[in-house]
């Protein structure tokens, strides 16, 4: 499989108990190992390119292919979803904060009414942010693997940084 973000997640989950080895390979690596000279870009041609690249990788560089091994990890999936939620809330909060600052510069007599409305809008978002952060803290503690333990042990790496790195990078050994 080629890395596609979230679209392959359900497929990986569906095959988590099967004996097949699943690999989600960086498109750049696929291109490098593509034996096809044909530059046609159709889904069918792409699937063949991916299969051929996977076959070559397995026989020529199995250790490279192994770095792209994927498996369903429900703890990690939960963490990824909560991180995405935190980012959404965080950007909504930042946008409102900026708007509130701008409103304060207005000379309109009824500026306070609009200011109050925006502040009211911000309160539940800030509350949700706190709840989400607590959830992420708890989920990060539940991640039992070495990567999680290693990241959280680094001084200066907070919960959010560690959790974001874990869900974005997935397999840190790819960079070893």
């Amino acid at each position: 499989m080629e890395s596609t973000g979230v679209y392959g997640k359900l497929f990986i989950k569906a095959l988590s108990n099967s004996p097949v080895n699943l690999f989600e390979v960086n498109p750049l690596i696929i291109k490098r190992f593509s034996s096809s000279m044909v530059q046609t870009k159709t889904d069918q041609a792409d699937a063949l390119t991916i299969a051929q690249a996977g076959r070559l990788l397995a026989s020529l560089q199995p250790e490279t292919l192994d770095k792209y091994r994927v498996k369903h990890d429900s703890d990690r999936e939960n963490l990824a979803l909560w991180i995405a939620e935190y980012k959404r809330l965080s950007s909504a909060n930042a946008r409102l904060k900026q708007q509130i600052q701008n409103i304060r510069h207005h000379a309109a007599p009824k500026m306070n009414i609009i200011l109050g409305r925006r502040q009211e809008e911000q309160q539940p978002i800030q509350k949700q942010l706190k709840i989400t952060k607590k959830e992420i803290d708890a989920l990060l503690k539940e991640q039992a693997d070495e990567d999680a333990k290693c990241l959280t042990s680094i001084t200066g790496v907070g919960t959010l940084t560690a959790a974001t790195a874990l869900v974005s990078v997935q397999n840190i050994s790819r960079f070893a």
């Binding site: 359900l10 497929f11 889904d43 069918q44 699937a47 063949l48 051929q52 076959r55 397995a58």
Partner: protein
């Protein structure tokens, strides 16, 4: 010797294309489109050749 097969998957939001090749690069299952949902996954598994066919 145990033969190895490679399934190439081009994943998209609603569907995916799968193609199965053997260790020589010969196509075993031609490129086929499946829905990216549990029904599609089951169809893919059902379309896989049985060990004696492969």
């Amino acid at each position: 010797m145990k033969s190895r097969f490679t399934l190439g998957i081009d994943m998209a939001k609603d569907s995916f294309v799968a193609i199965l090749i053997d260790s020589q690069g010969k196509t075993i299952l031609p490129a086929t489109t499946f829905k990216n949902n549990s029904k599609g996954f089951l169809k893919l598994i059902a379309s896989m050749p049985k060990p004696q066919d492969a």
